[in-house]
């Protein structure tokens, strides 16, 4: 009996580990930057260039549909992400622990017909989308995590 429970627990653990690997193929917003290294292949993603800027580092991740740029603070935390491509990326993965807050705020954000942009503001996270077919763009950031001296215009 005990063995069985242990087996089930081990199975759950493996599942969680597998999920964790997929989740961390993208470093998530608010999460540590080193989570980006693991299994990108699961999402058909490849690592693009790394750019060092005063006050932060940008790590690019490339998939078929979208290029995602992750903005990493000197403390090693992803404080913002930005993207462009044929589709918007799956934010349920990229937003990490801010997903529920984003989805709640999205429900409460009235649609503005005729505009090619939207801004969804939660208590802690801001998600903006804009663009048009062939170049959909966006960014998400956590204002309190943005390092001092970094201008939001740089996140694009």
């Amino acid at each position: 009996m005990k063995k069985k429970v242990c087996g089930v627990l081990a199975g759950l653990g493996l599942t969680a580990a597998a999920l964790g690997v997929v989740q961390q193929a993208w470093a998530t917003l608010g999460g540590p930057a080193d989570s980006v290294i693991t299994d990108r292949k699961a999402l058909s993603a490849v690592r693009g260039g790394t750019t060092v800027q005063p006050g932060y580092t940008v790590q690019e991740i490339i998939t078929d549909a979208t290029n995602v740029r992750e903005y990493v603070s000197p403390a090693g935390i992803v404080f913002a992400i930005a993207w462009n491509g044929m589709m918007h990326p799956d934010l349920t993965t990229l937003l990490g622990s801010y997903v529920a807050e984003y989805q709640q705020a999205l429900q409460n954000t009235p649609r503005q017909m005729g505009m090619r942009r939207s801004e969804v503001r939660g208590n802690n996270v801001v998600v903006e989308k804009w663009g048009h077919m062939r170049n959909l763009q966006g960014r998400a950031y956590v204002p309190v995590l943005v390092p001092p001296g970094v201008n939001l215009d740089e996140i694009k």
């Binding site: 549909a65 044929m86 589709m87 918007h88 799956d90 934010l91 349920t92 989805q103 999205l106 429900q107 649609r111 503005q112 017909m113 005729g114 505009m115 090619r116 942009r117 939207s118 801004e119 969804v120 903006e128 989308k129 804009w130 663009g131 048009h132 077919m133 062939r134 170049n135 959909l136 763009q137 960014r139 215009d153 694009k156």
Partner: protein, 398 residues
């Protein structure tokens, strides 16, 4: 005499009051309608800006509507559908399933049914099956092409087309239109395709390729007038109009009604469907889009362009501002200056008018020449890989 004058003034004041209360919507008495010159030919669709081709739904300012006829493929079993948004920033015809009465033919994908998820700049999305239809634009010959039938209850929508990631189009009432006619610079759309095991809600869908069934720009499928379109809309007076009408002319230099006059300059676009626009000394990616309802550009300073208090995202300068920006072809030439006006959106939208030439709002890192750009102009939209006297697409010319 004096009392008569007062009575007239009072009457006029009442008239003005009667016109208040609509926030760019359908309430209030209809304002002036401005109409462009009629254009004869089999290749012409009427563009109705907040006019008779738009639905009775509460609408929004500067909405350009056309009507499109769809038929069961290869038959004369047809219906004409109004309130289709004319969109020069997407490619392909998409119509809500609730608006479709004729039987269309489902495109298969392996052993399943082909469906598509499309994302838009405003964070909205359209999900639904890809079906073959005979599509008739104006009095052009019917073309059999795949269209997207927008239906959130078809199979299992991709996560990018659910409320987890976007604002899905669910009904004509909610979207304030029956569909979208995408006649922009390219032929094929760029959505993600899926194969669904069934049409019933909840049937599983897995990633697939469109094979040769991409939802695509109907103009490119025409036998003759297939190299682009011309959008012609009249000038709109200061303060706006109740509605406006103009013409979507299909083909560029293919018939007597779409020849290119001298003085038209073509601006070549890149593979992202963008040119360069320089405003306030900063260069942005620019695009020209009937589906955007204002001029949208980054705010150089909050004091120059104060944000509106009632209409989020719009600019509300105290007086109308006379501005200009420079468009440049994606390759670096040619360049030309465009003048435009920005007025106070809160006060304009609070009148009974619905069509405005001098409205704009904020954007991030891009310059969006929306519908007001088209007022008083003929804009030529050259499809990728086709040619005309203006050059080889993709290009915008005006």
């Amino acid at each position: 005499m004096k009392s008569n004058k007062i009575a007239v003034v009072l009457f006029l004041m009442l008239m003005v009051l009667a016109g208040c209360g609509g926030s760019g919507g359908g309430s209030g008495s209809p304002g002036l309608s401005v109409e462009g010159p009629p254009v004869a030919g089999n290749n012409v669709l009427t563009i109705s800006v907040n006019g008779s081709l738009c639905s009775d739904n509460p609408t929004y300012p500067n909405e350009p509507c056309v009507s499109v006829t769809i038929c069961a493929p290869g038959t004369t079993n047809c219906q004409t559908i109004n309130d289709i948004l004319l969109d020069t920033a997407s490619y392909g015809l998409r119509i809500f399933n609730q608006a479709i009465m004729v039987p269309l033919t489902q495109v298969t994908s392996g052993s399943g049914l082909l469906a598509e998820c499309v994302n838009y700049g405003d964070g909205s999305s359209t999900w639904g099956p890809v079906q073959m239809a005979s599509v008739i634009l104006g009095n052009e010959p019917a073309v059999q092409i795949p269209i997207q039938v927008v239906n959130q209850n078809f199979g299992s929508p991709s996560t990018l087309c659910t409320s987890k990631n976007s604002t899905p189009d669910t009904s004509p009432f909610e979207a304030k239109r029956n569909g979208i006619l995408g006649v922009g610079l390219f032929v094929q759309d760029t959505g993600q395709y899926f194969s669904c095991s069934g049409s019933a809600s909840g049937s599983p869908c897995t990633s697939a390729t469109a094979a040769n069934a991409n939802v695509s720009n109907p103009v490119a499928a025409l036998p003759v007038d297939n190299n682009g379109v011309i959008v012609q809309l009249p000038s709109v007076p200061a303060g706006g109009a109740g509605s406006a009408s103009g013409s979507l002319i299909i083909g560029i230099g293919t018939q007597t009604n779409n020849t290119v006059p001298s003085g038209v300059t073509a601006y070549g676009a890149d593979q992202r469907a963008e040119i360069l626009t320089t405003f306030n000394g900063i260069q942005y990616a620019g695009f020209i889009d009937t589906g955007s309802n204002g001029f949208f550009f980054p705010n150089p300073s909050a004091t120059q362009f104060p944000a509106c208090t009632e209409n989020l995202g719009w600019y509300c300068p105290p007086t109308v501002m006379n501005l200009s920006a420079t468009n440049t072809g994606a390759s670096g030439s040619p360049s030309g200056i465009v003048s435009f006006l920005i007025g106070n959106a809160d006060s304009l939208f609070s009148t009974s008018n619905q069509v405005f030439g001098e409205v704009g709002g904020s954007a991030v890192n891009s310059f969006d020449w929306g519908l007001p750009f088209f007022f008083g102009r003929s804009v030529y939209i050259g499809i990728n890989g086709t040619s005309s006297s203006l050059g080889t697409g993709p290009y915008w010319a005006y």
